[in-house]
Amino acid sequence: MYRKQVRRRRAVLALLIVGSFALLTVTYGQGSDGMQRGVSAIFSPVQSVLDRALKPARDLVNWFDETFDAKGRNARLQSELEEARRQAVGAKAALAENAQLRKLVELDESGAIPSGYEPVSGRVIARSPTVWFADVVIDAGSGDGVEVGDPVVDGDGLVGSIAAVAGGSAKVTLIVDHSSAVSAKIVPNGAQGVLKPSVGDPGDLILEYLNSERRVGKGQSVVTSGWRGEGIESSYPPNLPIGEVAEASIVEQEAQAQVHVRPYADLRDLDIVQVLTGGSRG
């Protein structure tokens, strides 16, 4: 009797392990399948309600965390504010010049969102719990026109791109996920490279493969390069703000052709994001 019980337990365990590996093998790299779409469709409304209901509690917990943080940030922000004021004066002149140049080359003056893209707003309803994946799920999906590959931004800058879509929800792979790579350029320097994450540190991105002849300085802005080639193009439109150069040592630039970038968007505390649907993909 006991042996039979042990044999049955071993069989169940083996079945579960084999099942896990089979699921992993079958579904890896294929995006969402029918089962995920079904489960997601069932739980999306529940998650949406739960998200709204738990927001006050989340804000309370996050308030404690941010209060601890705020003390240390205060001095740094003061100096950054002074720097920003100085830059704002220069930026106004640059904007005026930019507007004139845009008229000259008859480019669209749309601003932050490039022409041809239709922004769709979504609320973050779930977030991956482990440090190894930087994914969030938003409550906008294929029903809202969202497609795989669409860029995702928030008020501060680029957040990531759509990795999988279900009817009423979509998975956003953040730019700090290990699978992410964004072609980016430094303005006004113009140096181009590929922006990759440093897994586990959402405040640090690494801009690699820089042209070592163009010296990069701390505080310079990093935007998407949005390159186009023959038949292929970057999934991100050009000039979406990503972040600023946080660390640019000469040694690192010369030896490894890379600098460290701090993203503008607070990727640990995303709430409302915009998916830039449409565009010129295809």
């Binding site: 896990s20 699921l23 992993l24 079958v26 996050n62 991956s128 929800s169 440093s198």
Partner: protein
């Protein structure tokens, strides 16, 4: 654990609620810049109360639901949480739990195991980016959070699943026999 339809329904509700709370609440709050991960602690508590099979099946189900709701490749979460729940159950079957500190300590250790397991699965599938040393800090903090969360989860689940627990000691001491004429 004695599995009746009522207890199975409670287990399903606990797992679904646990996954939804993890995704909708715990993953979106930060304490010392780290989000707590209560799912391994939940699975450990179920394994400690129900044994290795209950732990394994609960872990598999929680992982599968997690992967489904995150629209992630299926199987990774199931595999890691299945192993976590099974180990917790195996501990309960092999050793006596003498101290009330054992469940939270086990939650801490097995959360560490689960986070490393998630990393191992991800490494198996391929990581193309450098891994920051902050990952170690995050994993250790998650394990410490699991100590406190695990204690609360274990106590709560023990209460919720009390009718199904075989070895639950009697709540009240038996009354002394009345001696007539004394």
């Amino acid at each position: 654990m004695i599995l009746t339809p009522n207890i199975v329904a409670r287990l399903v509700a606990i797992i679904v609620a646990g996954v939804l709370l993890q995704l909708g609440f715990f993953s979106q709050v930060a304490l010392f810049h780290v989000s707590p991960d209560v799912l391994p602690a939940l699975v450990v508590a179920l394994g400690l109360l129900g044994g290795s099979m209950a732990g394994a099946v609960s872990g598999f189900s929680a992982g599968l639901l997690l992967d489904c709701l995150l629209i992630a490749p299926l199987g990774g979460g199931s595999l890691v949480l299945l192993a976590t729940g099974y180990l917790a159950g195996l501990f309960r079957e092999r050793f006596e739990i003498h101290s009330p500190l054992v469940p939270p300590l086990l939650c801490m250790v097995l959360t560490l195991f689960a986070e490393l397991g998630f990393g191992a699965v991800e490494l198996m599938l391929g990581i193309d980016a450098p891994v920051s040393t902050l990952v170690i800090r995050d994993i250790l903090l998650k394990s410490i959070f699991a100590f406190f969360a695990g204690w609360a989860i274990y106590v709560g689940l023990r209460r919720a699943l009390r009718p199904a627990l075989v070895e639950e000691p009697a709540l009240r001491r038996s009354r002394r026999p009345t001696v007539l004429g004394a």
